[in-house]
Symmetry: D2
Subunit: 351 residues, 4 copies
């Protein structure tokens, strides 16, 4: 196996003990050109990764280390921060100062307007200067020139933005009519314990949380404004469904003029024809959640209802895949000049 010889990027993962961190490890294990050279946790490094997560036994020889930026920069060429919002903003700064590449999976470097982070996250933002160094990493829509600092989008935000982009770019819908009803698997809430994620309470259950106040709302609007500057608000709900992984997003919008299902599907196929991870379903066919689990795919189905003059968009992603680690690897590929699909051309796990 000559694969080892062509490896050209050494990376470190901070926050490897979180669900997105573990998933980064899983994807990068497949990656032909990336080597994970160190793994880190800011809070759980007293035991080995295998002691926390026996599924990795024999699959990584790396010790679980505390976070020491200079040590990381000595062995690595890029760092992935799979740490929670509020933690990343502290951890990232030494790397930024040292001009060292960072892909951050948290919300800390996404919101570009002063004050927005404070309002929606309820805590102090990273320095605005640092925030502006970061590209918003919606991989299908990144602009040139690309930064070496990438703020990987939120899971809900990724699904919502990819769902609405073609409609907004083509001015097909009434801007104040957008309703997004998004459902997430419970891994989206992370590994922190809570009553809402306690099995006897979450199993066989469904709940809407953060009514009109989810922190991905301003992130979505910021990105939608890139296509429709006059859009002011969207109705956006987030619910938990009893699955471990996945986002099932249903979006609705009034059209400015009638359209056929065929035209609609064609429009999306055209928009995403260069995007290997966006799979547009045929007319009359809608994706089910399971068809993307374990992968970086974002599958989209579309229908127009002539009676209500509304479009329905059904979009599914794996919240830990395209919604986190998968898109981070995609962004890493773009950064390193690898084929976008490197390490990601795997089959979803089904059934």
């Amino acid at each position: 196996m000559e694969r080892k010889e062509v490896i050209s990027l050494k990376v470190s993962i901070i926050g490897v003990t979180g669900y997105s961190g573990l998933e980064l490890l899983r994807y990068l294990k497949h990656h032909p050109f990336v080597e994970v050279v160190s793994i880190h946790s800011h809070s759980m490094n007293k035991k080995s990764l295998e002691q926390h997560y026996p599924h990795v036994k024999q699959l990584t020889a790396l010790p679980l280390e505390a976070v020491d930026p200079s040590k990381i920069m000595a062995v690595s060429e890029l760092v992935l921060l799979a740490t929670p919002s509020g933690i990343s903003k502290e951890l990232a700064l030494p790397f930024i100062e040292a001009d060292f590449p960072v892909i951050d999976l948290s919300g800390d470097f996404r919101l570009k307007t002063e004050g927005t982070y404070e309002t929606w996250y309820g805590k102090k933002a990273a320095p605005l200067e640092a925030i502006h160094k970061f590209d918003y990493g919606l991989a299908e829509y990144r602009q040139e020139p690309k930064s070496k600092w990438i703020a990987n989008p939120g899971c809900y935000a990724t699904a919502a933005e990819l769902s609405l982009a073609p409609l907004l770019k083509n001015h097909l819908i009434v801007l104040d009519s957008i309703v997004v009803d998004a459902k997430s698997g419970i891994s989206g809430a992370g590994k922190g314990l809570s009553q809402a994620t306690h099995f006897p309470e979450s199993h066989d259950n469904m709940s809407l949380y953060k009514m009109n106040s989810h922190q991905h709302i301003p992130e979505i609007i910021q990105q939608l404004n890139a296509w429709s500057p006059e859009l002011e608000a969207i109705q956006f709900s987030t619910s938990l469904i009893p699955v471990t992984r996945g986002i099932f997003l249903t979006a609705y919008a009034k059209v400015v003029q009638p359209i056929s299902d065929e035209k609609l599907v064609e429009l999306y196929q055209e928009e995403y024809k260069q995007a290997p991870f966006i799979r547009i379903q045929e007319v009359g066919s809608y994706p089910v959640l399971k068809q993307v689990i374990g992968s970086n795919y974002c599958d989209i189905g579309l229908a127009y209802n002539p009676k209500t003059k509304m479009i329905t968009i059904v979009t599914v992603i794996d919240n830990l895949g395209k919604g986190a680690a998968g898109q981070a690897v995609q962004n890493l590929n773009i950064f390193a000049g690898f084929d976008e699909q490197c390490g990601l051309d795997i089959l979803p796990i089904y059934p």
Copy 2:
């Protein structure tokens, strides 16, 4: 236990081997004034009910019989049809002709406008004359005089109608802005086998089905028109979530003028103050699916979003409870003059 002496209604259940039929049996077992005197299946009467469903062992001594209307009318005072749409319309006719009370849980006698049933159900309707004999049994809104023939509403329809009634009756929303995103547990699909309900395909999954074509849409519009004759269409989606029971319905509508959360909750509390099974959540609180499972409750939470000028309504019911058997018992209570809560004042099963 003197309870037996006051029993005043003998009933028969046809279609007892379906999920709604079993649930009727469960509720009526609790009922102090009703006795189930015979149980019937048009297709599964070769074995006993216990052989099909061991959970009933020792709990019913009744044999599982074929359907013979004259025998039923000889022993019983009311018949409950828990049979599928398309079957009920055949089975009900002899009872109607004999002026014998019927509560039908199927969709066969709900749609009053000629041609609608054919369009949405794709099969021949019951005779229009028979259909018009039936009350539409949305229990909280039944009018006097009440018929002895009751078409029990659909599960989605019940949740949607109870969610929207106060807004429409008070002219608070823009009629063509209504979006209903409804999710159902898989028992809603009945006991018939299909790939979509095969455990390895439905578990950990979510899917939208019957896009813009669910047969409850005309039923909902028919009832909403009782409050808003000018309403023409609603955007209505139905998805399956991996739970056995329950409907979690999220509805959205633009207001004609701003309203506060407090006013909204007050309005619903006022509307439903005589309705023991409708429980309006406090401001800022939204129901979770599990809090109604096993019961006849319909719990509703409300929020107004000043940024989008939209109201969000979160409504939960047990599809086999308030969405089927529970409401049927409630309608039976109304018919017989019992307290509406008889046999239904039970705690949901939690967790």
Copy 3:
């Protein structure tokens, strides 16, 4: 409804905010002769029960109170302790001293041999004198005279003891050959949060815990010794399966001489012919977990394997029903002289 007039027992529940406490409330709501007059929590009484558990809304007007034994004894005739092991032993003492009836659902008063509790529970036991006042409340096997203090059995223990009693009483099996492989739903772990009960870790998972060290082992042996004093040990494993409720127990034992399936089933039917909650399956039929959920039933299936000379016993109960609150109500009925089935003659919830 004259039912109110015949109510003859007023009870209080301590620990109503736990899963067994809630289930007591659910069963007693059905009970024709019991009135719950006060509900208590030693740790969660700052909010109302409805604020903790919205499913009880409108179903109980009782305030959630702190624990004050003299106040309880002033209004009530019996107290149910649905508190955890270690807590009950403190709370029960004032009631015992005042000669006031107690049904305790914890493990604190079950183990009669000095030192056993300390060894298996890892904490200090209740005073031995108090422990000896308590009947071990395996309802089907309680002896006369009956005490007013009842230690309700553990969930696993109930299932194991009812499974093995007929074999041991009839000396049919080799005593050192017993293997019990018991699986429990996750509500068995209570409402306390842990990584093992965090949805993303417990869903789609199964795990064996407390290998050879579950605290129900000495309880089971103590009771089995009532039938087979020479029995010394059983191989007993406990695993978690991803369901909320239920125990599915599979037991194995070598026979001392061959037996037919028919004889085996007959033996159990005979043993339990007076026990309304024990339902023995026909030859060749084995219970599924779901057929007892929400109820006090214990369903048992049996098979003899001539190749291995072993009997297999398949037993299912609802851990919160026959394994906790259901059996507590059954014990209450025995205590009060009510029919054993009062409040418990309900259908399991299916599907």
Copy 4:
């Protein structure tokens, strides 16, 4: 990516529309040296694979073809039969006659003693001569010389045999004391519809099926006899748990003389030190089901109970991985002379 150049084996998959067939496709997509050149279904080839299973969209360009052995042999170097028992035996014959390599995942070529297949499978066996050409493909224990025809073991059989091998080879246990209590995810029942796999009946449920009659019993005994010819029977139960994938097997056996946990773990570590897919847990640690899902790992935990003189073995595999497609790829690697881990060195999907 030069990987394509070193590909050295072209294979075809028959039965790709079954769950094991899909999983073969998933594993082989990762494999650096194997190319799937054609995919076949004997019953579902009217539509494309993507139409049946949208998760494969864009991931395979291969048409779904009927089964034509000569066409397959013209393009391919090995055929994988992921077809059900009873079908494989027909499909394999032309390949065997043409001296063409076959890996069969069904039970049709595993049982070497005349009459055994008929007894346990209830249908006619393949010709005995054909059966004897096949190696039983328990990968860790295959003998030299290796055949080009491989009967891949059953899922339960794999877990049971790997669990018991070290004990039997070292004569540590009483042969007639073995009890195996095995639980399987529902994908083990395949994609055929049945009431037992209908979501509302299987979710939140557990059931024991094929009491003392599972067709893997003779397969296990045949292999155990290779290590202990005098072993005659094992007590073996199979239950369904509500997860999609995975086998959780708990085995029990009496020791011939006491042993420590340390010795036990050491013994297994020694036995499997050359087996990269068998991961022995540390003393006091037991595998959970989820830690192997999506992979070819078989994780084993061990405990000795001095009170009962029994060993408990806890073993987990993915029934579609090590229990089917994963082990088939491992056998393919052995056949082709690739490193055993090729295409299989992937992380289980967690959580």
